[in-house]
Symmetry: C2
Subunit: 201 residues, 2 copies
């Protein structure tokens, strides 16, 4: 693409470096910003740089936070006896969006994956054991992806947590709400039959 301006070219390349944004979309965004006033564009730039520079990670659960302890961990109204172990930030957001979970989280930062060179020491497991041991946690919910790596991690964590005398549970698996039965995969369908529950009126 031809740009008569190096400034424009740099800005387009900056946007185009983001995932899912090509040169044409980047140019559209740059031309949009060019029409905004300078203060608005400075605000845009500042919000993004501040986000990266000032972001902290909660010393309890490793979630991103504006302070040393995140808004969830420091919320007295939440159930501090239940920990939900998740893989990433997006999982916390997804669960928070349901509005159904009132406990705290613990962000592992990944799952055990020997193929990708991720071992237990690369994850936030020590701090999880410390929290369970010292802060009176009664239940740990394993909310990891239903993959081989996820299951391996749950297996490993289970072995470490059992001696601490804490209740361990995993997410219920079965067919989705609103999903059509014929499109459910065999494994999920088989499991949802095996783990059938009494009908509730």
């Amino acid at each position: 693409m031809h740009f008569s301006s190096k400034l424009i070219e740099d800005a387009v390349n900056a946007f185009a470096s983001l995932p899912g944004i090509g040169k044409k979309t980047a140019l559209r965004l740059v031309l949009h910003l060019l029409k905004q006033n300078t203060e608005a564009v400075e605000g845009f730039g500042k919000a993004i740089v501040a986000m990266r520079k000032d972001i902290k990670f909660c010393s309890h659960c490793h979630n991103i936070s504006d302070h040393d302890v995140c808004a969830i961990c420091s919320n007295k109204a939440r159930d501090h006896e239940t920990l939900c172990v998740v893989e990433s930030l997006r999982d916390i957001m997804a669960i928070e969006n349901t509005g159904q979970f009132r406990g705290l989280y613990h962000l592992l930062g990944g799952v055990i994956s020997p193929l990708e060179g991720v071992g237990p020491d690369d994850l936030n497991i020590e701090t999880l054991l410390g929290r369970v041991d010292k802060t009176g946690v009664k239940e740990v919910i394993m909310a990891l992806s239903p993959t081989i790596e996820g299951d391996t991690t749950v297996f490993y964590l289970n072995k470490k947590l059992v001696p601490l005398g804490v209740k361990i549970s995993t997410l219920a698996r079965g067919i989705s709400f609103g999903g059509e039965l014929e499109y459910a995969d065999e494994l999920t369908l088989a499991r949802s039959i095996a783990a059938r529950v009494p009908y509730e009126k």
Copy 2:
């Protein structure tokens, strides 16, 4: 959406204010930037703010430029006797991408549109007449959109330019290369028959 961090929320809202980017995409971009190092994100922010703050408009053709005179107008190798009148920046880029035009441009900044309150005085017409009058321009190519507003603008410019004794031309109109005849609109097809050209071997 639930964000445990105001910083993240601000950054997501900044991205989501861009056209075609929703909250989910914005979050994906923010989480991507969160994984980059601080310098890279600062570079991103700076490129965008600098673009808006330092951008100039060419004093000859009104194109965006890093200097007082843009790279096209200051290029001695180009044909300074031919001016291509366009509506917007994107049109200049589109024509430059063809690599077929070696003359200079003149950016009107819009077209005459009484419905939207855009009159001749709101466009860069005075400077166009000045350039044609004083810099030895021999031909003006009208490359405006084939709309009522575009045609009105061409009509108006033609009236102003004829007394200056300059050759005036418009873009050829007809069916597209690679386009299927049956999908061409009636007006274009009718015109391309009326304006048929001798077959060249």
